[in-house]
């Protein structure tokens, strides 16, 4: 992750993860990590060990549902699906984020005039 992106990402990782899972339908931790890095063109690069605590926390809060998936090679994988509560939470977070960025834009534009 780039130096100043850490603080920007802080508190919003759950929104990014939920958004990706909603779009992918179901995803496992490694896949989410790669997707986040690819989609952000390397801007968001999480320490990999932090992904699983986030996934478990969201699962315990009922935002995600975890299911074990057998693989032809290697150990079983745990895939996550978004729940109805998770979708509701995601919509709320997206709306809050839009309000926040709009407010930032308004303030910055006002300063440049």
């Amino acid at each position: 992750m780039r130096s100043n992106s850490s603080s920007l990402l802080h508190g919003n990782t759950d929104m990014l993860i939920l958004g990706m899972i909603e779009e992918l339908g179901s995803a496992h931790g490694y896949q989410l990590m790669k997707e986040m890095e690819t989609r952000s063109k390397g801007f968001f690069r999480l320490k990999e060990g932090t992904m699983y605590p986030l996934l478990r926390k969201m699962e315990n809060e009922g935002l995600l549902e975890g299911k074990w998936e057998a693989t032809s090679l290697g150990p079983e994988r745990r895939c996550y699906l978004i729940t109805a509560k998770g979708k509701e939470f995601l919509n709320f977070r997206k709306a809050s984020w839009r309000d926040f960025t709009n407010a930032i834009d308004l303030v910055c534009k006002a300063n440049t005039i």
Binding site: Y30, E48, G49, Y52, P53, R56, K57, E76, R77, R78
Partner: protein
Amino acid sequence: MQPEVRTYLEKVRSHLYLRADVEKQLITELNSHLQQKIDDLTSQDCPQEEAVRQAIFSFGEAESVARLLYEACCKGSWADALKFSLPHLLAAVIFASAPFHKVPVLLPVFVLFILVSLAGWLHGKPDWLYCWVGYTLLPLLAGCFLLLPVTGRFINALFGSGSFSSWGALIATIGYYILSACVLLNVSLHAIKRDWLLASLMLAPLPIISCWLYHMQQAGGFFTGADIEELNQPVAQALIVLAFTAAVFVRLRQRVLKAGVIVTVLMISMMVVGQSLWGNIGFFGALGLSLFSLLVFIIPAVTNAAIGHGEPLLKTP
């Protein structure tokens, strides 16, 4: 599985302090991630050894991953908080109503503690079980205090002028002490293997009630009457505080906060109970009681450092 990955995952597991089945799931999930990463790196012409090293490095420090996973998984519901608090509240009611000279009242309560503990033990050993188990140990402790006069008479005869003839009673007493120590040790070790903080919480009522038992013994025995009933109130109050502590313990995520809550509450409770039982205990009396209460925190912590947490999940081939 590569030896480096096994060592890393074992290090994570040893710092998790969660239920064995949850730990197993988490380790399987982390292993799956690491194996995929290693496969990806080796498919990009990275040597196997370097791929393993990079995969582990990019995952982060084992202790820090374990701490985050613990904090994500440890928080119990309000129902769990109630299950943790209930034995303390029940014991507080017993002390507040002081039926200690009425064995028919005490017996069903003790049977209830035993039954709940057994049910928990047979159904997956949930975390709240340990709070109940702590109280099932109390009759053993009470027996030890009841037998104090026998050992007292023997010590007097040994170092003083009196004679001692109750050798049968002494042998039975020593046997009882050994048996009690074995039961206490076994139960404590089991709890420490699960999580030493849970073991501390399990043992927390023991120093408080030990002070009361000692005072009762000094005042003339357990089943003698109502003269010392008012002294049960501070113990009841301390147990209510312990009930709230147990609820807070369940709802907190950080281990350092959980430990802090147990230590603070226990030290203050012991000083308050000591002050109520023996009057003005002074600075050194308060300090002594605080240090005595800290034993239920320090002993599990030290034992955990020696024996570790849980059973290794990943057997070497």
